[in-house]
Amino acid sequence: MPIVDKHGITIGILAGRVEDAKWPLLHLQACELLSRHRSSCTPRKGKQRVHRRGAFIALRCGVSHGGGQPRPQNLENTPADARVLEELNSHPFFKRIAGFATGMFSRVP
């Protein structure tokens, strides 16, 4: 379902959730991973503990540009954070979400 402004321009899409009998189980597994690995991440201090978006650990990966980077680069992480990211990125819940969001972006089947 689209969210539109007063001119009818789309500024958001309520995408719903993946329709799959296994989804509740995958969701539970993903929650368990996130909960368990909070303490595996490199401890945050100062501005990293409470940042612009809130008071929680945020792990980032992929390609970014800006904030002083001279060119687009892969986001770098500490070895501890990188290990957690590897596990999260390979879990079926997160792989499916990436594809699901992409599919919703481009089309509704």
Binding site: I9, T10, G54, V63, F105
Partner: protein, 172 residues
């Protein structure tokens, strides 16, 4: 096949495709994704402050998925401030929003509940990099002739119109 944002999707696919093709060192974390970066928010009770993701493409969309164990009728709502909307956001569901222009935040969940989120997005600067022939704006502009500069200035002045034209319009 119904479509939500096919023109915007095409723009992402084209520009980010050129980005990855030009620099083989850049890795796609999720090869099935149109987004270039991912952020996991580990909570345990993730509640974002009101914020706007200025680094995102202003006419782009990011994806947010909520996870956790919480009652979505009592907490975890997504607030879209300019729209004056408060949206129930059940665990496991996904929303796409223009996070670069719409200020957003979450209603906290209860102290015995958990909420995590994962967001996918593409930095606006990636698109500029490609449009500037794989240079920083400052280097790109410094290398232009006067005639070229006029063409680029024209392009930049109408960029907001180009961006808006990529977003689907729904009329009653």
């Amino acid at each position: 096949m119904a479509t939500w944002a096919p023109k915007l999707y095409q723009y992402y696919a084209e520009k980010l495709g050129q980005l990855y093709a030009q620099d083989p060192n850049l890795t796609r974390v999720f090869p099935n994704s149109i987004f270039s970066a991912t952020s996991y928010n580990l909570g345990p009770r993730t509640a974002c402050f009101k914020h706007t993701d200025f680094a995102n493409l202003p006419f782009g969309l990011c994806s947010i998925t909520a996870l956790g164990s919480y009652d979505p009728s009592k907490g975890g709502h997504l607030v879209l401030w300019q729209c004056k909307l408060v949206i129930e956001f059940p665990p496991g569901s996904t929303i796409l929003i223009a996070s670069g222009i719409v200020a957003h935040s979450n209603v906290p969940v209860g102290k015995d509940e958990t909420r995590y989120s994962v967001a996918h997005y593409s930095a606006g600067a990636l698109f500029c990099w490609v449009e500037n022939n794989f240079r920083r704006s400052v280097d790109f502009l410094a290398g232009l002739s006067e005639e070229e500069a006029l063409v680029v200035q024209e392009r930049e002045l109408s960029r907001w119109e180009m961006g808006l034209s990529l977003l689907p319009v729904f009329k009653e």
